[in-house]
């Protein structure tokens, strides 16, 4: 029997507000432990939460960007459980009235369009961070807790069980991340923990409607890990089912080093969170015009921008997709394309050489030493034939390091290409005259000899001759 995987994801994303969800403490990453807390986010007796309006705006903007409907009347609930890094022993979250419901994310899979539904997006607070003295909580003699993270606003995004492969899950996550980054509500940095993903995965026989027993997989720290963990889990469950056993409902943790999932807790051990409405906060009411105001603040989203790039700049889908995967790259492209007549060339250089240089230097495109203006100038020189493409790569590298203009670098390196027919013509003439036998061979039909002549001319002109002009003049003069 063949089985079909059914995958749903739960993604937690930290919002980029300046202050925490229920107090005025700062949210910046990497501060001295426990330097960004107060009675509220430490859960001291008597402290009360006050909702951060900006966090609500960001959560709703995220929901709108994911195509959700917004509940105009919503509320917060308490999710009760004990954990050392959860200072109140409850998390203020949203249970049955999340801000956003019924959305969808379109993404590309194997070059074709695909889509996954978004069940809900809700707002909640982060817990603190446990730092264990050993490698893990087991075997540690003590643990420290940093409450700087406690109370940072978080959205939880829950998808429909619409994904059918680990690759689809990864492609979806990439599109989700891009979309959220476009809205500016989160930086979605998985390595800093500002984006985290859990997955629910089950198998069912192909053609069967009801879902199989699902397993929750946690502790995946990269998109690659999500893909690998899901592939492993599908493999594991397939083994269980084909062996005649049943999959047990449980939570499993991905072990990155060993490349396996291990059981964390069974269904019986699962928490009863005893949700109830948070009595310290008033229900949240959102007026339709306020929601529309937020919608108006959303930027053009990646998929729409990709389509526009294909249409307006005659780019291929792949080119446009690559450019629009980050809002900053797409912005860079549009700025450069506005100054240079060939969008194709701009795209090639951004996706190619510039991307390589930025990547090697670990520099974000927003602070690229080569600005869109500088790049467009460089490409102008290439288009005009002033320098060759090969030379332009050297120039770009120099510009990247020295931040000098293309003009300056070309001048200094003497890379200016000679395209002048007279100057090249006299060299061509002299070379032909110096090699009468090879000239005769060409005239007799040996085309390959042309390469020899090109090499001779280029050597004579120290590589600065425009190869196209050299070619043309050689053919012309050899035939005569």
């Amino acid at each position: 029997m063949t089985y079909e995987p059914v995958i749903g994801l739960e993604i937690h994303v930290e919002l980029l507000t300046a202050t925490k969800l229920f107090c005025g403490c700062l949210t910046g990453f990497g501060a001295q432990p426990n330097s960004q807390c107060c009675p509220v986010c430490l859960g001291l007796p008597g402290a009360l939460p006050v909702l951060n309006r900006r966090a609500v705006e960001f959560a709703v903007m995220a929901g709108l960007a994911l195509g959700c409907r917004i509940h105009t009347r919503s509320k917060f609930d308490r999710k009760n459980y004990f954990y050392p890094d959860l200072p109140k022993a409850y998390q203020i979250s949203q249970f049955d009235l999340p801000f956003c419901v019924d959305g969808a994310v379109s993404f590309e899979l194997d070059g074709g369009p695909s889509e996954a539904g978004i069940t809900r997006v809700h707002l909640e607070e982060e817990a603190g961070k446990s730092v264990h003295s050993g490698d893990s909580i087991l075997g540690s003699t003590y643990s420290s807790i940093d409450y700087n993270r406690s109370g940072i606003p978080l959205i939880e995004i829950v998808t429909e069980p619409d994904l059918r492969s680990p690759e689809a899950a990864k492609a979806f996550l990439e599109q989700l991340r891009t979309t959220l980054q476009y809205t500016g509500v989160s930086d979605c940095k998985m390595q800093e923990g500002s984006l985290r993903c859990d997955a629910n995965v089950s198998l069912r026989p192909v053609g069967q409607e009801p879902f199989g027993t699902k397993v929750e997989v946690k502790n995946m720290n990269s998109f690659r890990a999500v893909e690998r963990a899901l592939a492993y889990e599908i493999h594991r469950q397939t083994g269980v089912l084909t062996g005649g056993d049943t999959v047990s409902q449980e939570t499993r943790a991905w072990d990155e080093a060993r490349g396996v999932t291990v059981s964390m807790r069974s269904k019986e051990e699962s928490h009863d969170y005893r949700y109830f409405p948070e009595p310290d906060l008033m229900p949240v009411t959102m007026e339709a015009p306020w929601i529309e105001g937020l919608r108006a603040r959303l930027p053009e989203l990646p998929l729409a921008r990709k389509r526009r790039f294909c249409r307006d700049f005659s780019l291929s889908h792949d080119e446009a997709y690559q450019l629009t995967q980050s809002r900053e790259t797409a912005d860079f492209f549009e700025a450069a394309a506005a100054l240079h007549p060939s969008p194709k060339a701009v795209s090639n250089w951004i996706n190619g050489e510039l991307a390589r240089l930025l990547n090697e230097a670990g520099v974000a495109i927003t602070v690229s030493p080569v600005t869109p203006e500088m790049l467009s100038k460089l490409l102008d020189y290439v288009k005009a034939g002033t320098i060759s493409s090969t030379a332009a790569k050297d120039v770009l590298e120099d510009m990247f390091v020295t931040k000098r203009s293309a003009e300056l670098v070309i001048k200094e390196k003497g890379l200016e290409q000679i395209s002048d027919s007279d100057a090249i013509g006299s060299v061509v003439q002299a070379i032909i005259e110096a090699h009468p036998e090879e000239a005769a061979a060409f005239r007799a039909g040996k085309d390959k000899v042309l390469g020899f002549f090109v090499g001779q001319v280029m050597r004579e002109m120290r590589g600065k001759a425009n190869p196209q002009v050299v070619n043309e003049l050689l053919r012309q003069k050899l035939r005569n």
């Binding site: 009675p39 308490r78 009760n80």
Partner: protein, 482 residues
């Protein structure tokens, strides 16, 4: 003049005309405290040195003509579930026996910015859970009217401090009657304002949707003035109501034309005859003065105690979950963090607190939520409507504050007996309306009887005027002078 029975209003006059200094006043309170505390035990923590320094500073301000408020220099006692910066705040619990808050509650800020010296922190049932202050893990407080009897609770320490003349007035908190019942037992005035009138920021939560800070005074005007001083919007409490200045008290209180409702549910079920009589005496006086009294029925009152204990314990089970020994408070040693949680809570909490946490946990559990917590919330909504429609017919409701007068220590031997103490007081918390308790006579044991006046949301001014009128009737004239 007996300083210990003089009203805050009169103390204000004495300070203003220079016949008394704030420092003298605080010294007299300190003397009275050292005299009374061995038999009363109202205070868990005293801050008399600070209070004396604050009083001296107040006198200095008075000399410069730079008073912070009309009540500058009159000292106050604060219930020990209200956070005071640098002064331990125990909630009457082993769990917080050594907890020193790093911040002041909003109401304490208001006391300080108005120039009121804080004498100390008063005893209470552990985490405000109880009706006799017997649940305090730290100390017993006796009723100043009869030290063999309880002062009521949970704000028993504040009520006793005011009744014993240790403090002119005091702050308490009222979740289901915790101000009004001890006020009745000790023979003083207690006001629980409309929910949201006073900021809860810094009040250690018991049941968030019911908790409200209020005041004790020896006179209606005192309790009303202190309430006026601490009331007002606070951005740090999201349930705090928009600012609306409370104007309480009138020089010529009147009840002419006042529509008074007598809810029969509060007078049946074998109510103590002496209490019944005292309430009816008040009714008669009101009628004679031109009030229109009508009997009415509020049938949902019969569900009030059950509804209250479901909601209060559910919220408490969550509010008290933070006491896990990790960051502050009592910590037991154990092999792992879970064991530490369990042992810290087992050893740090008293029986009544554990009982309510378990009840509340149960009421919120999967499979029981709809039958208990949700149903209780639905009844609460219905009660709100029932009281709203009652207040279309009447301006105030008159009831006994408590079904009994002060009882002896250990008298309420089962939790249920104790819970039934709250039968007349929990409704105003569930509905969120204001209520005043004032003395309305004594029983045959010379124990004070409390009369409760409830009104619709924001009717504090009407309640205070009615209470003040009744107070003058009983005292035969000017209420400022005993």
């Amino acid at each position: 003049m007996n300083l210990q029975t003089t009203s805050a209003v009169e103390l204000q006059r004495l300070l203003n005309d220079g016949s008394l200094s704030s420092r003298e006043l605080v010294d007299r309170c300190a003397e009275r405290i050292s005299d009374q505390e061995p038999s009363i035990g109202a205070f868990l923590t005293l801050s008399l040195d600070t209070a004396k320094a604050e009083a001296a500073a107040s006198d200095e301000r008075r000399r410069r003509g730079a008073l912070l408020s009309p009540w500058d220099g009159i000292p106050v006692a604060v219930k020990d579930n209200i956070c005071t910066r640098g002064l331990r705040t125990t909630c009457g619990s082993r769990m917080l026996e050594r907890f020193v808050p790093p911040y002041d509650a909003a109401v304490v800020e208001r006391l300080r910015t108005a120039g009121l010296p804080v004498l100390g922190k008063t005893n209470l049932d552990e985490f405000a859970m109880g009706s006799s202050t017997e649940n305090s893990a730290l100390q017993r407080t006796c009723n100043p009217r009869d030290t063999q009897r309880v002062p009521g609770g949970s704000s028993g320490g504040s009520a006793a401090a005011v009744a014993a003349g240790e403090s002119p007035w005091a702050l308490g908190s009222d979740t289901g009657g915790s101000i009004r019942q001890p006020a009745a037992f000790c023979g003083v005035v207690g006001i629980k304002p409309t929910y949201g009138t006073v900021s809860r920021y810094g009040l250690v939560a018991y049941a968030s949707s019911l908790d409200q800070i209020g005041t004790f005074g020896r006179r209606v005007r005192d309790a009303a003035s202190l309430l006026q001083l601490i009331a007002g919007h606070d951005a740090r409490d999201s349930t705090s109501l928009p600012a609306e200045t409370l104007q309480l008290g009138s020089d010529d209180p009147s009840v002419r034309g006042l529509r008074v409702g007598l809810p029969l549910e509060y007078l049946e079920h074998g109510l103590n005859a002496e209490i019944h009589q005292a309430v009816m005496d008040a009714v008669r006086r009101l009628e004679e003065a031109g009030a229109v009294v009508q009997e009415l029925r509020l049938p949902l009152t019969d569900y009030a105690v059950e509804t209250y204990y479901l909601i209060a314990t559910a919220e408490a089970s969550s509010n008290l979950a933070r006491y896990d020994g990790v960051r502050y408070g009592y910590r037991a040693e154990a092999d792992d963090s879970r064991g530490m949680f369990e042992m810290s809570r087992t050893e740090g909490f008293g029986d009544e607190v554990k009982r309510r946490i378990m009840l509340g946990t149960y009421a919120l559990s999967a499979g029981y939520y709809d039958a208990y917590y949700k149903k209780a919330q639905q009844i609460r909504t219905m009660m709100r409507r029932e009281y709203e429609s009652a207040f279309e017919q009447v301006d105030v409701l008159l009831t006994p504050t408590s079904p009994t007068t002060a009882f002896a220590f250990g008298d309420k031997s089962t939790p249920l007996d104790m819970y039934l103490q709250d039968i007349f007081t929990v409704t105003s918390n569930l509905v969120g309306i204001p209520a005043v308790s004032l003395p309305c006579g004594e029983d045959s044991h010379k124990l004070p009887i409390g009369l409760q006046i409830m009104g619709p949301h924001f009717s504090e001014a009407r309640l205070v005027e009615t209470a003040e009128w009744l107070e003058r009737q009983r005292n035969g004239g000017d209420s400022h002078d005993l």
